[in-house]
């Protein structure tokens, strides 16, 4: 869809676009190009010598047990965050949709965690799960569970998953509730008249109608778990204990910023870029379909 009536002029529109294009070129395109270029080079830490090494950095990254560990962690973490955040949000949205009285009040009380920064969410959950000052952490230890997320990798992973999912439930809740409220009442009444019980009604009528929303949210949640949870991990566990909560993004940061291994960091960046392009394309292909729903 394009406009039929437009203004004349060549210079003005270019001037209007200039700020955005300048920022994009200097801070996005140039660094991205640099990342690709550096991923093909081997450089000593002082930047004195560099040589072209082709795909050597990529081979090194893909065969690095720590990178594969981070890949596995990312998979477990992302899938768990998405599943937990989507499951809880759907449950709450279905209940809020039923309780028509007060639905808006519940909405207000459930959406605010969206505004809490991931790192702050991490800190809030630390206050609950700290082994010696946290309410739940202490209770677990008193009950005989050896709870210390700073020593136990599995527990650390569990904690970063819970803190990350907590924040994302609000977002999913808003979309699920909107999706539920847009289902025509007549469809539900028809199903009820046909004798379908509530549970069956949900799985055979409501859930299929919600599936476009659910799929869209799944992609958004995976993107969130991938990229926006750096703060949770950095504030809570720092990737540890050991490397138990080190995700792909966290490893790029550690290798590039702390270890100054530029070639390896750049190669990891390029691999992540490919991943983002893929996810973005899935997201946009899907958005087309969502509009028709």
């Amino acid at each position: 869809m394009i406009k039929r009536v437009i203004f004349k002029g060549q210079l003005l529109p270019l001037l209007l676009l200039a700020p955005q294009l300048a920022v994009t070129a200097v801070f996005f395109l140039w660094p991205a190009g640099q990342a690709i270029y550096q991923s093909l080079l081997q450089e000593d830490p002082f930047g004195l010598r560099r040589e072209f090494v082709g795909t050597e950095n990529f081979d090194a990254v893909l065969n690095d047990p720590l990178w594969l560990n981070a890949l596995g962690n990312t998979a477990v973490f992302s899938v768990s965050v998405a599943a937990l955040a989507l499951g809880v949000a759907l449950l709450l949205a279905v209940q809020a949709d039923k309780a028509i009285r007060g639905a808006n009040l519940y909405k207000t009380m459930l959406i605010w965690p969206y505004a809490v920064a991931p790192a702050v969410a991490a800190v809030l959950w630390l206050f609950l799960f700290h082994p010696s000052i946290g309410l739940i952490g202490r209770a677990l230890n008193a009950a005989g569970v050896a709870w210390d997320y700073k020593l136990n990798g599995g527990q650390a992973m569990l904690l970063v998953i819970v803190a990350s999912a907590w924040k994302q439930v609000s977002y999913n809740f808003i979309f699920f509730l909107a999706g539920l409220q847009s289902i025509p009442r007549s469809v539900l009444e028809a199903a009820a008249i046909d004798g379908a019980r509530p549970f069956r009604r949900f799985w055979t009528v409501v859930f299929p109608l919600l599936s476009p929303t659910s799929f869209f949210l799944l992609v958004v949640n995976l993107v969130y778990a991938f990229f926006d949870t750096f703060g949770v991990i950095h504030a809570l566990t720092g990737g540890g204990p050991g490397n138990a909560t080190e995700t792909l993004i966290y490893k790029v940061y550690v290798d590039g910023v702390q270890n100054l291994n530029l070639g390896a960091s750049a190669a990891q960046s390029v691999i992540l870029m490919v991943l983002v392009v893929g996810l973005t394309m899935v997201q946009f292909r899907f958005v087309e379909r969502r509009v028709h729903y």
């Binding site: 395109l29 920064a117 000052i133």
Partner: protein
């Protein structure tokens, strides 16, 4: 099935719904409650591990300490200063994104010029290049431009926005051609049309977007962590995380908790106070 049974069943359903929702709301509030209560006790109470469930009497002392002096093992910057930095950063990012997206979308929709689609797709590309995937080279650019440790460096690289440009483009396309024709007949040029017609029509969209982008700006973490090591520019979210350190038991937890409360009140207030715009902004930017 008689009317009484239906009624009873519906009531039972509603009771269930309210029970599940109430538990959900409680779980959502639990971490906040613990933090709020903790921020009103003294260091020793929390350090001993007697997790208090009801507020104590040290609120004023703790919040004053956090606001004026900061705290924690790693002596943070004062929370008052960090809040100011976060506020400025969030407003500059949100305002900057909206301003440059408005004019870019205006150029793409209301003009025909060579390179129009190229410009549009270039902006679109930024979606696929989050900071996380280009950390080191972007940092090098910042060093070359001497933008490290500056408010400009904290904000300018973040103000390109594909989503905001897409949203405004979408909205501008719905402005009827007759408006442009009428403006032309009246002798109004493109800048006049932008100021007198397009901007007033966009107010709702701008408000909705501002809420989302303000929170986006406030919650930045990796970017400030990378390019700020000057305490005078510390933002509250990063400052708070630094106060935690490695999570030792012996720490000024009460002051840290007070800082956590200060860090989350402004964005939460914006979302709750502007809930209608927030929901609109959220659902439209993701379309």
């Amino acid at each position: 099935m008689d009317a009484a049974t239906t009624r009873r069943r519906r009531l039972r359903g509603a009771a269930w719904a309210h029970a599940v929702l109430a538990i959900g709301v409680l779980i959502f509030f639990l971490p906040i409650w613990i933090t709020l209560v903790g921020s009103t006790h003294d260091t020793a109470t929390i350090g001993r591990g007697d997790v208090p469930l009801l507020p104590g009497g040290e609120a004023i002392a703790n919040y004053t300490a956090a606001w004026n002096a900061g705290g924690g093992r790693y002596r943070s910057a004062p929370a008052g200063l960090m809040l100011g930095n976060s506020l400025l950063m969030a407003v500059l990012i949100a305002g900057g994104k909206i301003a440059i997206s408005l004019i870019s979308a205006y150029a793409v929709v209301f003009f025909r010029f060579p390179g129009r689609m190229l410009a549009f797709w270039t902006i679109f590309l930024t979606l696929m290049l989050p900071v996380e995937v280009r950390i080191i080279p972007t940092f090098q650019v910042m060093v070359d431009l001497s933008l490290v440790n500056t408010m400009a460096g904290l904000t300018i690289p973040l103000i390109a926005s594909a989503t905001a440009t897409l949203l405004f483009r979408q909205f501008f396309l719905t402005i009827p051609d007759e408006y442009v024709e009428a403006a032309k007949i009246d002798g109004a040029g493109p800048l006049r049309f932008f100021r007198d017609v397009v901007l007033p029509l966009s107010v709702t969209n701008i408000a909705a977007l501002f809420v989302i982008l303000f929170i986006y700006g406030w919650n930045q973490y990796l970017w400030p962590l990378l390019i700020v090591n000057d305490r005078g520019l510390e933002t509250i979210v990063v400052g708070l995380a630094k106060m935690i350190g490695s999570g030792d038991t012996q720490n000024e937890w009460n002051v840290i908790m007070a800082t956590a409360v200060l860090a989350l009140v402004p964005p939460v207030f914006v979302v709750v106070a502007m809930q209608r715009w927030f929901v609109k902004g959220l659902t439209e930017t993701e379309k």
